[in-house]
């Protein structure tokens, strides 16, 4: 999860991660997450096999908030098709997308999440 993503959903209370060895498909569910009272699904960014699951983050989900790009990682996935990686946003595209989102959110803020 990105830093923007964790900041947007707020304090993460619980995570449910699927075990290593699970085969996932791009855009499909590969776990659940609860923050505040929002419960959502984790969706796989690429198809492939999960080769490692961060059980430490599952036991202490605050890690995802505190260090999303470090100790708060979720999965290591072996892509089935490396071409799918090209379908993901690169850092420039993500930056632009994020800035647009932040702009919109400032306009629409309802104070739902602290």
């Amino acid at each position: 999860m990105t830093d923007y993503g964790q900041g947007n959903i707020g304090d993460i209370l619980y995570l449910e991660l699927v075990p290593a060895g699970t085969v996932v498909r791009r855009g499909e569910r590969c776990g659940s997450i609860e923050s505040g009272k929002w419960v959502g699904s984790l969706l796989a960014p690429v198809s492939g096999m999960i080769v490692e699951t961060n059980r430490d983050a599952e036991a202490d989900p605050h890690m995802v908030n505190a260090d999303p790009f470090g100790r708060g990682w979720l999965y290591r996935i072996e892509p089935a098709d490396r071409n799918e990686i090209g379908l993901l946003m690169d850092s420039g595209a993500y930056q632009a997308w994020m800035e647009e989102r932040i702009c919109l959110e400032e306009k629409n803020s309802q104070g739902w999440i602290d």
Binding site: D11, W38, L43, P61, D114
Partner: protein, 374 residues
């Protein structure tokens, strides 16, 4: 715009929950129209939050002896009891692709507005407070939660206390805190209210549904068309019941995040402050603030609720407590905020230091109300 309105009563726990989830999936996929469902469960069932652990939250022996089914909601938050006097409100809407989260946040504002408008027409001064509660003067009346289906469909759920058998609730749900006296338990139970209490009237569930449906119609500017589940929807609901909500591995799953308890007592010039805290990992799940100081019940309830599902980081806890004090310092009658901050921080530190997580000292959503979802 037209929405469907589906009304059903006396549903089983497994059907009620499966219907909400199945509709969220279908609406997200464009297979069903946006639907407002106003329904009641067969009295009574105990419903825990998505990631809670049954043994922590529910007195399973009592439930078994009294035929009270236990189930797990797709939505988060605390444990509740549901029955003929608690109105279930489920709104299923399409998401909006990658923007679903922001969209959900906007819709949550309108969802709560629909409920508040309905309550206001009854003269109930209800307000959307914190993340997911509707309160009347600091007392919790409605708990809410949101679930996003993998299809992107959004389920907004609320449980509204038209009435509540508090004694039964206390028999069904575990309390979050160790060693509360009967008097303290009464205090905790007093932080909940009901529509019948607030209106001083015996309002029926059907009357309640009418005002809530009107509230939604005006908040979302939609027409509600009375409807029923389609045969295809019923088949999907039945399938989901069989595959999920009737299965013990769904209901009795456990989480890797432990519950921990801590407490602290502090003597102050204005009296003794006695704080008990239950943590889920590093998040505060529930707080009880007692002692022999004088302060308004509403102010203390407000303070407890503001810390529910709050981060336990000491400086942020201090900010949350100061914020409540700023608004209602007179009601704390001479108790200084610094002492409350110290007591709460100390209880949190003790909970964090607890070597053996206490899995058997849970709480219910409505046991320490004011504060998450259904």
């Amino acid at each position: 715009m037209d929405w469907r309105l589906v009304v059903d009563d006396g549903v089983t726990a497994s059907f009620g929950l499966a219907a909400d989830e199945a509709l969220a999936a279908r609406v997200g996929a464009g297979a069903s129209l946006p639907t407002l469902r106003l329904y009641t469960y067969q009295s009574h069932c105990a419903l825990i939050g998505r990631f809670q652990t049954v043994e922590n939250e529910v007195r399973a022996d009592y439930c078994k002896a009294n035929n009270i089914p236990i189930n797990r909601r797709p939505t988060g938050g605390g444990a509740i009891i549901m029955g003929a006097d608690q109105l279930g409100v489920a709104l299923t809407m399409p998401g909006r692709g990658e923007d679903t989260y922001s969209h959900a946040r906007e819709l949550m504002g309108l969802f709560s507005e629909g409920l508040v408008r309905g309550l206001n027409t009854l003269g109930v001064e209800a307000r959307f407070r914190r993340k997911n509660d509707i309160e009347v003067n600091g007392k919790k009346l409605v708990g809410m939660g949101v679930y996003r289906a993998p299809s992107g469909g959004l389920l907004f759920h609320a449980s509204m206390l038209v009435d509540l058998d508090i004694a039964l609730m206390l028999r069904v749900l575990n309390t979050p805190f160790e060693k509360l006296s009967d008097k303290e338990m009464d205090t905790v139970a007093g932080r909940i209210t009901t529509v019948r209490r607030e209106t001083e009237s015996p309002i029926t569930l059907d009357e309640m549904r009418l005002v809530i449906a009107d509230g939604f119609g005006s908040a979302f500017d939609v027409n509600l068309i009375s409807s029923d589940f389609t045969a295809e929807e019923r088949a999907e609901i039945a399938k989901l019941e069989q595959e999920k909500y009737l299965r013990e591995d769904w209901v009795y799953q456990t989480t890797a995040v432990p519950d921990r308890n801590g407490s602290a007592k502090i003597k102050t010039p204005a009296g003794l402050i006695d704080v008990r805290v239950t943590m889920a990992g590093s998040i505060i799940k529930a707080v009880f603030i007692g002692g022999d100081f004088f302060a308004s019940e509403n102010a203390v309830a407000d303070l407890e609720a503001s810390l529910r599902w709050h981060t336990s980081q000491p400086e942020k806890v201090a900010v949350a407590i100061e914020k409540i004090f700023q608004g209602r310092s007179a009601e704390f009658n001479g108790i200084q905020s610094k002492f409350l901050i110290e007591a709460v921080q100390k209880a949190i530190a003790r909970a964090r230091a607890a070597e053996n997580p206490m899995r058997a000292e849970p709480y219910g959503c409505y046991v320490n109300p004011g504060g998450p979802y259904v």
